[in-house]
């Protein structure tokens, strides 16, 4: 019943301050962008892992790494995690694999957050029709009660205890409360969202980017092969150009992914804005970057399927 008292007090406040609806479409855009960037970065990370594994196998074959070094250890120093595993020695590929799973979990957590935020923002807790029905019920019941008590309502009484305005006020209260709570949550979680995005960018810069730049020579060597003497000059040029194109596309994709993550925190803060705010710069740039990313990603997927 405490909420009913709060309801009455807040309803008065709303009458003075006015009310704006939560922009559900912004929350949907935010959710969509998170899903899009997650799909791309998870997939690039997966591909990178595969490529890294391949080059790692080659280095073992060339005896740059010994076989016992390849093993896994299940000894957990803390003894707390029965599923613990780690490489017996420093093997980048296996560390990348561990980090890759970390990335999947981190992205999944961010996506889930974006999803529940959208659900909360777009849930129609009480529809206009329901509110009108409630007002009608109150009016009918209270009028019957007053008639039973033989209370003279006077000539000025229009027959409705809870008029249209009061019903609308109650509806506004529900919407305003929903909005206020959402904004509180967004503000409280702004730091966490920024941290997660910065963390993923770190992963892109250390877990993925060096494999594109430093791994470029490995891809070139692989394309030219040991049999480069058997390839014609033209075939060599074509092989180099192909690796160049793939590398540039990969760099472009990573850059697009990074741009989306960099734009996410501002977009998250923008979720507090409504129709009344003319500029939703954060949400708009996020969506632009997400569309650009989708384009680059789709084109790479298409090319991959064709080749």
């Amino acid at each position: 019943m405490q909420s009913i008292v709060q309801c009455a007090v807040l309803a008065l406040l709303i009458a003075v301050t006015g009310c704006a609806h939560v922009q559900g479409s912004n929350f949907a855009k935010f959710h969509e962008a998170v899903a899009e960037v997650q799909k791309s970065v998870d997939s690039v990370s997966e591909d990178n892992l595969e490529a890294n594994k391949e080059f790692f196998i080659e280095s073992v074959v060339k005896q740059e790494v010994s076989l016992p070094q390849l093993g896994l250890s299940f000894l957990d120093a803390d003894g707390e995690d029965p599923y613990f595993w780690k490489p017996r020695s420093t093997i980048l590929y296996l560390e990348l694999k561990r980090a890759h799973f970390g990335l999947l979990k981190l992205n999944a957590a961010l996506l889930k957050y974006a999803a529940v935020l959208e659900t909360l923002a777009t849930t129609d807790f009480l529809s206009h029709a329901e509110m009108q029905q409630m007002a009608r019920d109150i009016n009918t019941n209270s009028l019957q009660a007053m008639a039973a008590l033989e209370i003279d309502l006077g000539d000025d009484f229009d027959g409705a205890l809870l008029g249209t305005a009061a019903a609308a006020l109650m509806e506004r209260y529900v919407l305003t409360r929903q909005k206020a709570l959402l904004y509180e949550l967004i503000e409280a979680n702004q730091g966490a969202v920024r941290q997660v995005c910065d963390h993923v960018i770190d992963y892109i810069r250390v877990g993925l980017l060096p494999d594109v730049t430093a791994g470029y020579q490995d891809r070139l060597e692989s394309a030219l092969g040991d049999s480069s003497g058997l390839l014609t000059r033209r075939e060599q040029v074509e092989a180099v150009l192909k690796v160049n194109e793939d590398t540039v596309e990969l760099l472009e994709l990573l850059k697009s992914i990074e741009l989306v993550y960099a734009a996410l925190p501002a977009a998250h803060r923008d979720l507090q804005k409504t129709d009344g705010d003319s500029v939703l710069a954060g949400i708009n740039s996020l969506f632009d970057y997400a569309i650009r990313l989708q384009g680059v990603y789709d084109s790479m997927q298409k090319k991959g399927a064709e080749s």
């Binding site: 019943m1 909420s3 009913i4 309801c7 740059e64 420093t90 093997i91 980048l92 560390e95 990348l96 561990r98 980090a99 970390g102 990335l103 979990k105 981190l106 957590a109 961010l110 889930k112 957050y113 529940v116 659900t119 909360l120 849930t123 807790f125 009480l126 409630m134 019920d137 109150i138 019941n141 209270s142 019957q144 009660a145 039973a148 008590l149 109650m170 529900v174 409360r177 929903q178 709570l181 959402l182 949550l185 979680n189 966490a192 941290q195 997660v196 910065d198 963390h199 770190d202 992963y203 810069r205 250390v206 877990g207 980017l209 060096p210 730049t213 430093a214 470029y216 020579q217 070139l220």
Partner: protein
């Protein structure tokens, strides 16, 4: 991002670019060594230089892999903490959702109470 982390990331990426430059310098040396018009001593110099570049490239790769491995281990620890943080944030949103549902439920209870008023009055009316 801390300044130290930022610097480490930059260093890793500089090493990656450097390795790439060494590779092309090595290819240049190998191409030069294939030139049939140069004396053998000069060819030997090119080949030795190419071999030295390959050695440096391998050392850079080892150094870079070490740095990346250390960084990724720390990264993973940080990621675990953030996953928990996001789970808490998500749970809080769920709580608010439930709270909103409760608010609406309270409003509906109020309407039902008003409905009951008529019944109560019916009971007490004979005594009024």
């Amino acid at each position: 991002m801390s300044a130290e982390r930022k610097q480490k990331i930059r260093f890793i990426n500089v090493l990656a670019s450097l390795r790439n430059e060494l590779y092309f310098e090595r290819l240049e040396q190998l191409e030069a060594a294939r030139n049939p018009d140069i004396p053998d001593a000069r060819r030997k110099e090119h080949l030795e230089w190419a071999q030295a570049l390959e050695g440096w490239s391998k050392r850079i790769k080892v150094e870079m892999d070490e740095l990346r491995t250390g960084f990724l281990r720390q990264w993973l620890d940080g990621a675990d903490v953030m996953v928990q943080e996001m789970a808490r944030a998500t749970a809080k949103v769920d709580e608010v959702h439930k709270d909103m549902e409760q608010t609406v439920e309270d409003a509906q209870v109020f309407v039902r109470l008003v409905g009951k008023l008529d019944d109560v009055i019916g009971i007490v009316r004979p005594f009024l």
